[in-house]
């Protein structure tokens, strides 16, 4: 093997001291063999066409002064970053705003400090105009590369006070706040959590495992804010009462890609027990699977399903919810709650951009896709009078508890926050004789919305 060979293209570049400095020994590459020269000519021809296409972007670097800069750089400590100084820490900050009918406005700011030795420290402080309370959280996070596994191990520790929704599976605070603020159509119920949470996550390309521990006091929040920006009286003029108590909860979870497929399986289990010092006793389990199957280049079939079961006590803040953009469109958001939930959905999506061929007045660069879907879901373990989740011994719903629907939708793919994220407009029609009617839904989500974001 030839050691220390080098490429030199374009203008002659600085010699050994500059390139390898005091440590590298350069030798000049020998003239290529005749067979190699044909290959090199071929590669060079392609490179020339690249040069022509990119113009001055592809021009070789001006090497003037690089030798002396390298000599000076090698004299500096290896830990110094460059002539502009060492990067000691980074600081980010931004507003932390929210709105819901329990807290009212949540006005505040968040900040994070990144240092090489302390990793990332973050904090958030908010004042609520409805409950006149202070919310805040401080956290520390760090991650380590695990080379043998091609994975990364992350640890996050945080403590503080914050407001969250009863629906533990599908809650998106930013869009929910906007919906509550502009339209008053927020149908989540809210509770307060005070305490500590620690999360350890080992993640790789093919999946992750996660475990977390939290010790938090959970409490109800009153209904304080009856207005929204364009009117008065939100859709739900109340906020359900949460079960009060200290929760010491262990979470175990994992996600993996099914080998040889583009399907993912996600399993999560939450457990709390008085033996752990908790005021509550439950075992909450959720299994979700989904993926996509290509039907040629233009069609994609996206099946997904989720199953959840709550055993033991059934605090409303741990129930499973059905209805709305998260799952069954022909029900209102979180219209049904129970100790168990099963839901499946099948999408058939035309992945090609259809806006331009149809001459639709939308920005040309935003790909508009079309699709049809069918979905079916049920909740069980619910009190028929109050609608609350109640303990159940059943692990599966009765056939007559399933509610089904079909529909069609347009998807304007925005690519934010993930490349698959689309602004979806869907019309759904119920199947079966019940009091549901046709409904439309607007959502910002991925086709595989039942699987948690990675």
């Amino acid at each position: 093997m030839l050691l220390g060979a080098e490429i030199t293209r374009g203008a002659p570049i600085h010699q050994a001291a500059g390139r390898g400095g005091p440590v590298a020994a350069d030798t000049t590459a020998p003239a290529p063999a005749p067979g190699d020269s044909l290959l090199h000519d071929y590669v060079r021809q392609m490179r020339d066409s690249t040069d022509k296409w990119f113009g001055s972007t592809a021009a070789p670097v001006d090497t003037a002064g690089l030798d002396s800069a390298l000599a000076a750089g090698l004299l500096r400590s290896p830990n110094a970053r460059g002539p502009h100084g060492q990067r000691k820490l980074s600081f980010d900050w931004g507003p932390a705003l929210g709105f819901n009918r329990a807290d009212g406005w949540q006005l505040g700011a968040s900040a994070s400090l990144g240092t090489r030795w302390l990793s990332r420290l973050s904090g958030r402080m908010q004042y609520t105009t409805g409950t006149h309370d202070l919310l805040g959280e401080g956290g520390w996070a760090h991650s380590w590369r695990i080379d043998p596994l091609s994975a990364r191990l992350g640890l996050r520790l945080a403590a503080g006070r914050y407001t969250t929704a009863f629906d533990r599976d599908y809650y998106e605070p930013i869009l929910t706040s906007l919906n509550a603020l502009f339209a008053g159509e927020d149908r989540h119920q809210y509770l307060r959590r005070d305490g500590f949470i620690g999360t350890l996550r080992l993640g790789a390309e093919e999946g992750f495992v996660i475990t977390s521990w939290r010790d938090q006091l959970e409490s109800s929040l009153p209904y304080t804010t009856g207005w929204f920006l364009f009117g008065h009286g939100p859709e739900l003029p109340f906020n359900d009462e949460a079960t009060f108590g200290r929760v010491r909860e262990l979470t175990l979870g994992a996600e993996a890609t099914v080998p040889g497929t583009r399907f993912r399986v996600n399993a999560m289990h939450w457990t709390t027990d008085p033996r752990l010092g908790s005021d509550m006793l439950y075992r909450r389990t959720r299994l979700t699977a989904g993926g996509d199957v290509s039907l040629g280049r233009h069609l994609s079939l996206v099946p997904q399903a989720t199953y959840g079961l709550l055993r033991g006590e059934t605090p409303p803040q741990d129930a499973f919810f059905l209805g709305g953009v998260a799952n069954l469109r022909t029900l209102k958001r979180n219209e049904l709650a129970g100790a168990g939930r099963a839901y499946g959905r099948l999408d058939l999506i035309v992945v090609d951009e259809i806006g331009r061929p149809l001459h639709l007045p939308i920005p040309a660069q935003l790909p508009l896709q079309i699709g049809v879907f069918a979905g079916s879901g049920a909740v069980w373990g619910r009190d028929p009078v109050s609608g609350d989740a109640v303990p159940t011994s059943r692990s599966w719903p009765h056939a007559d508890e399933f509610l089904s629907e079909v529909g069609a939708g347009l998807m304007l793919r925005l690519g934010i926050p993930s490349p698959l994220t689309s602004f979806r407009f869907e019309v759904a029609f119920p199947i079966g004789a019940d009091r549901r009617g046709a409904a439309y839904a607007l959502a910002l989500q991925e086709p595989l919305n039942l699987l948690p974001a990675r």
Binding site: I7, I13, H84, E205, R413
Partner: protein, 313 residues
């Protein structure tokens, strides 16, 4: 058999009219006149001459070796890339990162920012980057250069070249053989790849040129059916990844991308180029650990931020 003359002259002979000049109208006429069913009767029109005086005999060669399948090529490329990676102990090179604005303006691409660095890497996880020069068209007043910042990974695996061929990613792409070319004793395969998932219209597809002598990738052209971030990035027009020879190794030499923004940015334009060029490679020269000091594992993935808004103290 000698070529037959046309029985009837379609055009009167003119002095100085060459055979080439004749050929065009004859061919045009032949194309315009519908071919009669069955054989043309003598005297119906011109008869095309057929060369039958040159003969050559090539003996039949029975090829017993099976043709290398696509799967085998992909396996060998993965092994070739892994072998290449395993043979590299250390490397150093000069890296130039460049952002050009107004790439499709009248004046052509204009240099917006450029950073030249010397990068040293050593296995297992040592990396050191020495910045040699930094240029910004509009530098910030505080002298900080947040617009472009490069951190190089300690890895020498060149994932940007072989991402589709890595065993863990291969199931996500569909491959086909586009072309074969024999150059001396090098057989160059051109392989096309595209995302297997129809849903992943934003994922890269493209062509790679593989030298099957060593089963290494020597060039890659990448395209995107749709933009990954359509809200901000209208499209990625052209992307080329090139390798060059450094001694016994093919090493990453250039990555060039032209992108177009959805909304033009004032004083920057809509289309811009990003270029990363690596030159002056020195490979396996036994770089001393002292060169790296405490920089073990620092750097993470190669990261380039353009137009970032972070504040640093």
């Amino acid at each position: 058999m000698p070529p037959q003359r046309p029985r009837h002259r379609l055009f009167p002979r003119r002095p100085g009219l060459t055979l080439v000049a004749w050929a065009a109208p004859v061919a045009l006429l032949a194309a315009l006149v519908p071919a009669p069913a069955g054989h043309a009767a003598p005297g119906d029109g011109p008869t095309l001459a057929k060369e039958d005086t040159m003969h050559t005999d090539v003996s039949t060669v029975l090829v017993r070796a099976p043709r290398v399948t696509l799967e085998e090529i992909l396996d060998r490329v993965a092994r070739g890339e892994a072998r290449r990676d395993s043979l590299l102990r250390d490397q150093s090179f000069t890296a130039t990162l460049r952002v050009m604005r107004d790439a499709e303006g009248k004046k052509g691409p204009i240099l917006f920012a450029e950073t030249v660095s010397r990068v040293y890497k050593k296995k297992p996880d040592m990396v050191r980057t020495i910045e040699l020069r930094h240029y910004e068209e509009r530098p910030e007043k505080d002298g900080d250069h947040d617009d472009m910042d490069a951190d190089f990974s300690p890895s020498m695996g060149e994932e940007i070249v072989n991402f589709a061929f890595r065993p863990e990613n291969r199931k996500n792409f569909r491959f086909s053989i586009e072309d074969r070319k024999l150059l001396g004793d090098h057989l160059i395969y051109t392989l096309a790849f595209a995302p297997r998932s129809a849903l992943a219209v934003f994922e890269p597809s493209g062509r790679v040129w593989v030298d099957t002598k060593e089963f290494v990738i020597v060039r890659q052209e990448i395209e995107f059916r749709q933009s990954p971030v359509p809200l901000f990035l209208k499209n990625i027009k052209h992307m080329v990844v090139e390798r060059d020879r450094a001694g016994d190794f093919w090493v990453l030499s250039r990555v060039l991308v032209r992108m177009e923004l959805t909304i033009p940015i004032p004083k920057f334009g809509r289309a811009f180029d990003f270029a990363m060029a690596m030159s002056d490679y020195t490979l396996n020269s036994d770089l001393p650990d002292s060169l790296f000091a405490n920089s073990h594992g620092k750097g993470g993935k190669s990261k380039v931020r353009v137009g970032g808004g972070r504040k640093r103290s």
